[in-house]
C-alpha cells in the first residue's frame, strides 16, 4: 500500500471540513475524488501535504507504512508526494529553470547536472506545448491560467514523485489544454506510481482511465466505484448523494 488515509477529521480554523475520510491507494493505481464545491476536496489534498492552515483533529495518514501526520510539508514532498495546486503561487525574481533545478536537487538529494536537466526540461516543455521562453520567466508571474496549470504538470514530470495529487488541474482549461495536460499525466504514469485526481467535473477522465472513483460530499466519501461511477455523475450530477 502506498497511501492510506484512516478516519481523517480536519478543520480549517473553527470550521470542520473533513468528517472521517478513508482512502487506500496502491502503487500503480489512478484514483479520482469527485464532489461538489465545498465538499472538502482541496482540504483533503492540503491535509495530506500538512498545510498549517488546516488542522488535523483525528485520524491518520500513512505513506509507505509510516505515519506522516506531523511531518513538515517539505519532508512529505521529499518522500514522494506531489501536489498540483489549484491556484499556483507567483514567485517574482525566481525563474522556472532555477526553481525546478533547485527543487529537483532537494527532492532527489543529488546534485543536478545542468546540461541534462535543461534538455529534460526542454523535452517536457515541448510535449506540454509550453512556450520555451517561460523557462526564464519568474515562476508563475504573469502566466495565464492555462500556463500555470501546464507549469504544475511540468513540475510533476521533473520531480517525478511516487504519488501525484492533482487538485482541480483541469478547471478553467479549454479542450486543447485539457488534452495536453492529460498527455502530461500519461507521460508521468507508470506501473509503480499513483495518481489522485481531485476534480468537480469529468472532462479530464475521458482520456485518463481511473481505477477507483470516490464521491466526496460534505466531508465524507459517500460512494466508491469504478470508472462508470464518474460517467453516472457526469449524467446525473451529485444530487442523489446529497442529503
Amino acid at each position: 500500500m502506498l497511501l492510506e488515509v484512516k478516519d481523517l477529521f480536519v478543520n480549517a480554523g473553527e470550521k470542520e471540513i473533513l468528517k472521517g475520510i478513508n482512502l487506500k491507494i496502491n502503487a500503480g493505481e489512478i484514483h479520482v475524488i469527485m464532489g461538489p464545491n465545498g465538499s472538502g476536496k482541496t482540504t483533503t489534498a492540503n491535509a495530506i501535504l500538512n498545510n498549517p492552515l488546516y488542522q488535523k483533529k483525528s485520524g491518520e495518514i500513512i505513506f509507505e507504512g509510516e505515519n506522516i501526520n506531523n511531518l513538515k510539508t517539505d519532508e512529505i514532498a521529499r518522500r514522494g508526494i506531489f501536489m498540483s495546486f489549484q491556484l499556483p503561487e507567483e514567485i517574482p525574481g525566481v525563474s522556472v529553470t532555477n526553481f525546478l533545478k533547485y527543487a529537483k536537487g532537494k527532492v532527489t538529494g543529488k546534485p543536478v547536472k545542468i546540461f541534462e536537466f535543461k534538455n529534460e526540461l526542454k523535452k517536457y516543455m515541448d510535449e506540454l506545448k509550453m512556450n520555451p521562453k517561460n523557462m526564464d520567466r519568474s515562476l508563475n508571474v504573469g502566466f495565464s491560467g492555462g500556463e500555470k496549470k501546464k507549469n504544475e504538470i511540468l513540475q510533476l514530470l521533473v520531480l517525478n514523485p511516487k504519488l501525484a495529487i492533482l487538485d482541480e488541474t483541469d478547471s478553467g482549461l479549454d479542450v486543447d489544454a485539457i488534452k495536453t495536460v492529460s498527455k502530461g499525466i500519461e507521460m508521468f504514469k507508470t506501473n509503480e506510481n499513483s495518481v489522485l485526481i481531485i476534480t468537480h467535473n469529468t472532462k479530464i477522465l475521458h482520456s485518463l482511465k481511473p481505477d477507483y472513483v470516490h464521491v466526496l460530499v460534505d466531508g465524507k466519501i459517500v460512494k466508491t466505484g469504478d470508472a462508470s461511477l464518474a460517467k453516472e455523475i457526469e449524467e446525473n450530477g451529485y444530487e442523489k448523494y446529497k442529503n
Binding site: 513538515k72 517539505d74 514532498a77 503561487e89 514567485i91 525566481v94 532537494k106 519568474s138
Partner: protein, 466 residues
C-alpha cells in the same frame, strides 16, 4: 544552493582588521588648526586650502538635520579626520605594501580588475594607494585618477566642477566634507568615447575612530558613456566611524552614466553620504544601489534633470538587520521638458532593523510633458523590525504623468507552503523568496557584485529565519 554559497563566502573577509599602522594620523577633532595641518600634509594649492577653511565656517553655522535617524552619538572630537596610510600612490599592485595589498586581495579587487574591469582605484583610509586603467582608454583621452592628482594636474576642470553640483551649504555633512575631503576618484570621459567595460573604485576604511571623506568627480562629456562602480567596506570596531563622502556627476548632452554602488560598511559606521548628478539634454544617469552595511545610513542620491529629454532611473535595495537604521532613498528634480524618471526601490527589515525609504520627486513649472513613476516595496521578516515609507511628491505643472505606488507586507504563508510542497525547507523557501524579491536589483549589478549581493542576503538571512 544556499549552503554552497555560504561555504564560498566568508563574512570575515570584510572584518579582517589590519594593525592601525599609518604614516600620519590627525589629532582627533575638527578645528581650523587641524584643517590647516591636513592641507599642509596634502600640499594643497592655496585655493583649496581657502576652500576648506570656508567650508569649515559653513559647517559651524549649519545645524544638524531635524529629521531622520538620531545621529547625536556622533562627536567630531572623537574622530580623526585624516589618516594617511604607509603607502604612496601606486600603479602596480606589486608596489602596494603587503598588508594593504592583502586586504584588497581578500576583497577580490585585483582579480576583478584582471577579469572584468577597465580600471581600478583603491583607497585605504584617507588616501588612494592604487590607480590604474587600461592602455586603450588612456589613448582615447579618458582620465581616471585619484582626486589629489586631479587637483594638481587638471586645476581648470576641477575648479570649474568641484563642489558646484553639491555646494557646501547643501547640508552640514557636505560642509564637513568640503573642509576635510581626502582621496576619491576623478574621471573624465571625452566627447563620443564609449567606455564599454566598467571602472571601479573601492574604498576601505581600516583605522578605528576615524572618518573617510573621499570625493568622486565624474564628467561624461557629450555623447560619451561610462559604467562606474563603487564598493566600500570596513572592519567592525566598537566606537563609531564616520563616512561623509561626496559624489558629483556631470552627464553632458547625449551622454550616459551608470553609477553602481555596493555599500557594505561595518555596523559601527555612520554613513552620511551625498551623491548628486546634473544631467543635460538627452543625457541619462542610472543609479544602482545595494545598501547592506552601516549602523546608520542617510543616503539619497539625487538626479537633477536640467536638459530637455534627460532621463534617470534609480534601482535600489536596503537590507537592515539588528541595530541598523538605514534611511535611504532618492531625489529627482525635473527642470526641463520631456524629462523622465523611474524609481524601483525595495527594502528588507529583520531582527529589529529599520528601513526607511525617503524621497522627493519634484516636477517644476518648466518641465512640461515629463513623466515620473515610482514603485516601492518593503518586506518585513519579523514583528520586531520597522519599515517606513516617506515619499514627497511635488508636482508644479499640469503636463505631467506622475504615479507613485508603495507596498508593505510579509512573506505569504501560502507561498511558503507552495515551495515546501516542492521539497524546500521553510528556511530555504523564505531565502528563495527574499532573493527573488531582490532579483530586479541584483540583476542590474555587474555579475560579481550580483553574486556578492546574493551571498550577503544569504548571510543576513542566516539565523534570522527559522
Amino acid at each position: 544552493m544556499k549552503k554552497t554559497n555560504i561555504d564560498e563566502i566568508n563574512r570575515n573577509i570584510y572584518d579582517i582588521k589590519n594593525k592601525d599602522i599609518y604614516d600620519y594620523k590627525s589629532k582627533k577633532g575638527l578645528t581650523k588648526e587641524i584643517i590647516e595641518e591636513i592641507s599642509k600634509q596634502k600640499s594643497d594649492p592655496d585655493w583649496m586650502r581657502e576652500f576648506r577653511l570656508k567650508a569649515l565656517e559653513t559647517y559651524n553655522k549649519l545645524e544638524l538635520p531635524t529629521w531622520g535617524p538620531d545621529i547625536s552619538e556622533l562627536n567630531m572630537n572623537d574622530i580623526s579626520i585624516y589618516v594617511r596610510p604607509k603607502s604612496k600612490l601606486n600603479n602596480s599592485w606589486e608596489d602596494v605594501p603587503d598588508d594593504i595589498k592583502k586586504t584588497f586581495d581578500n576583497l577580490g579587487i585585483p582579480e576583478a580588475e584582471k577579469k572584468s574591469l577597465a580600471g581600478v582605484g583603491a583607497q585605504y583610509d584617507s588616501e588612494v594607494v592604487y590607480h590604474s586603467m587600461k592602455e586603450d582608454l588612456i589613448k582615447q583621452g579618458v582620465i581616471y585618477t585619484d582626486m589629489e592628482t586631479a587637483v594638481k594636474e587638471y586645476p581648470d576642470i576641477v575648479k570649474k566642477y568641484f563642489m558646484k553640483c553639491v555646494p557646501v551649504y547643501d547640508h552640514k555633512f557636505v560642509a564637513l566634507h568640503g573642509a576635510v575631503w581626502s582621496g576619491g576618484s576623478f574621471v573624465y570621459v571625452p566627447k563620443g568615447v564609449k567606455v564599454d567595460i566598467p571602472l571601479q573604485s573601492y574604498f576601505r576604511l581600516n583605522s578605528p575612530e576615524s572618518g573617510q571623506f573621499e570625493h568622486t568627480l565624474i564628467i561624461v562629456d557629450e555623447g560619451a558613456s561610462l559604467h562606474f562602480i563603487e564598493g566600500c567596506s570596513a572592519p567592525k570596531y566598537n566606537k563609531v566611524n564616520l563616512h561623509a563622502g561626496c559624489v558629483e556627476l556631470y552627464v553632458k548632452e547625449n551622454a550616459y552614466l551608470r553609477y553602481s554602488t555596493i555599500e557594505n560598511w561595518s555596523k559601527n559606521m555612520l554613513n552620511l553620504n551625498t551623491k548628486k548628478a546634473i544631467v543635460e539634454k538627452n543625457g541619462q544617469i542610472d543609479w544602482v544601489t545595494g545598501s547592506f552595511g552601516s549602523k546608520i545610513s542617510m543616503l539619497y542620491p539625487m538626479s537633477i534633470l536640467n536638459g530637455e529629454g534627460s532621463k534617470t532611473e534609480f534601482t535600489g535595495i536596503s537590507f537592515a538587520g539588528k541595530g541598523q537604521n538605514l534611511d535611504n532613498g532618492f531625489k529627482v528634480v525635473h527642470n526641463a521638458p520631456n524629462t523622465s524618471s523611474v524609481v524601483n526601490a525595495k527594502s528588507i527589515s529583520k531582527n529589529g532593523g529599520k528601513c526607511t525609504y525617503r524621497s522627493l520627486v519634484r516636477i517644476n513649472e518648466d518641465a512640461k510633458n515629463s513623466k515620473s513613476s515610482v514603485s516601492c516595496e518593503s518586506l518585513m521578516l519579523d514583528d520586531i523590525s520597522i519599515s517606513d515609507t516617506i515619499p514627497t511628491n511635488d508636482i508644479r505643472n499640469d503636463e505631467v504623468e506622475f504615479s507613485h505606488e508603495a507596498k508593505i507586507g510579509k512573506i505569504s504563508d501560502k507561498t511558503i507552503f507552495y515551495l515546501m510542497s516542492r521539497g524546500l525547507s521553510e528556511e530555504d523557501a523564505k531565502a528563495m523568496i527574499v532573493r527573488g524579491f531582490a532579483y530586479p536589483i541584483s540583476k542590474e549589478l555587474p555579475v560579481e557584485y550580483a553574486v556578492e549581493m546574493n551571498n550577503l542576503i544569504n548571510l543576513e538571512l542566516e539565523g534570522a529565519i527559522g
